[in-house]
């Protein structure tokens, strides 16, 4: 299935080194695939990704991806209050 991949801040350099497109980039993956598996497919470590937006909402990494999902990966580094307000970190 196809997803649209975005990655922010430090993740960009890590993906660039591997030649993986990461700005509004269509990506083919096999189903079923959750976010944990996607992180692994991208050659990233679990701790590289603090949170994930799926279709513009922060979702658990256990979430199974669907065809045409918009996925954006966030590394640690989002300023504190917004980590709470956007639902990245538990209150």
């Amino acid at each position: 299935m196809r997803i649209i991949l975005n990655a922010f801040s430090f993740l960009r350099d890590k993906l660039r080194l591997q030649g993986i497109a990461h700005i509004e980039a269509p990506m083919e993956i096999t189903s079923p695939c959750d976010v944990h598996r996607l992180i692994s497919l991208l050659g990233l470590k679990p701790e590289d990704v603090e949170a994930v937006f799926i279709n513009r909402v922060i979702m658990p990494k256990e979430t199974l991806l669907n065809e045409n999902d918009r996925v954006a990966l966030l590394p640690p580094g989002t300023p504190g209050s917004y980590r709470l307000m956007l639902g990245i970190k538990k209150v």
Partner: protein
Amino acid sequence: MADKIYRVNMSNLSFKIEEVPASWMGLGGRGLTSTIVAEEVDPECHPLGPNNKLVFAPGLLSGTSASNSGRNSCGAKSPLTGGIKESNVGGTSAAIMAKLGVKALIIEGLPKDAETFYQLHVTKDRVEFILVPELIGLDNYAVLEAMAAKYDKKVAVMSIGRIGEMRMNIANISVKDPGGKLRSHGRGGLGAVMGSKKIKCITVDAESYKEVTIENPDKFKEASKIFTKTLQENPISGQGLPAFGTNVLVNILNEAGGLPTHNFREGNWEHAEKICGETMAENIKARGGKTTHGCHAGCVIQCSQVYNDKDGNYLTSGFEYETIWALGAHLGIQDLDLIAKMDGLMDDLGVDSIETSVMLGLAVDAGILAYGDGARAYELLSHEIPTGTPLGRILGAGTHILGKAYGLVRVPTVKGQGIPAYEPRAVKGQGITYATTPMGADHTAGYAVATNILNSGGHIDPLKKEGQVELARNLQIASAAVDSTGMCIFVAFAALDDAKCLPSLIDMINARFGCALTIDDVMNLGKNILKKEHEFNIKAGFGKADDRLPEFMKYETLPPHNVTWDFTGEEIDAFWNF
């Protein structure tokens, strides 16, 4: 020498150096400036009249070796909001004032001669009143040059440009930073208050000061080491901010549907990539700028940067997310270099880059310019406003007055102050802070987190109401507490993740003054300050109706989440139940 209160009266050009009242002893930064304004300023006074006071106070740890302790607080009744205002800044003034023994500088009265402007020169024993006709009509960098020629190069300088002289609501007070660039007491029109008192600049002597006294140096050193380590090891303050600055938030807010676009009509901007922190960092590296830069000595976070043009020439520093958002997604300028040029110009002119840029975005609705017309925006900023043309005066009065003057309904302000950078409908906790903070819409009012009073309740859904009032209350109390220590608010990021951060900060305060404060004491200080500021506003005539967001946010749905602002008045008012 113990710290003193330096009190200046501009009506008769006199000064007094006073003992610190016992009730002010444990206060610094916002805690002290807001207390002085609340106790000494008539809430019903005209902000530009003789009964307003302009108060500066360094933080409790300013002047020490504590990391990130170099913030100076400025307070007054705001001409923009009509309520109490506190705005704090980096630069060199806080440390130098603290080392000189200035606990607070209180400026009252107005000079009789309306045509004059003064420089106040603060030394250890006196305040000099110096007529400066040669500085009238100059902007901030020219004032810095003149003071550099006159004094030791380390002299602290706080100044206003032409717009402050004209007492426009967008005027800020600019402060020299360690690199000779400018930082700002930005929000609330404090530069207009300084202009009303006919003060062009304040200089603070950097030659006669002594190091601040530490009651328990060993304990201070130990706590300071722990505190610094928590900042350096935190992924936000130690890595994210130094690499991308606060502008790391463009892509995140855009992805969340919370990047206000075209005057709060949408929550995404298709051109966000052109202005985001990642693009900014790439430009800086390619052009020989600096991705890390501290706004004050002793900063270990270094979230600021030096941004150059394609030829490697300086454009600006301290290039913040909120300004980039306002000129970018809000006004539609896609050229990050032009945004940087405007940011640098706003430093020199001495205007609040948030209020000014939010106002320029609203000016599109007024038909004054078109979205993305950077050339026209630059002309308004560089000509109409600083030369005080009739249009410039309306623009310089800020977002709220521009909306009134042009009969606009969709005016993004709370208590007369422009809403920055975070869409309240899509980030509802931020909306509660915008509605309730005594400062008018201000993102920094709810920036810190007090984990010890945070109820454990899982993840917040930014699109839903549940838990938002409690979260915003917690954020504002903690922010008021951190502001009152005089620390940079960004130390709060480490405090959220590292249990050692906040205790080590309190330990440093205790070692500095020989006291025994607890975390609860400091958080209670935050609560007290917040309530004191709220009470001032009520006495100034504010009511519950002022704790509300613009009405259009209740009936216009915001894409992409198609959400509205759906809090009832009673739900918002519950914020003050503490």
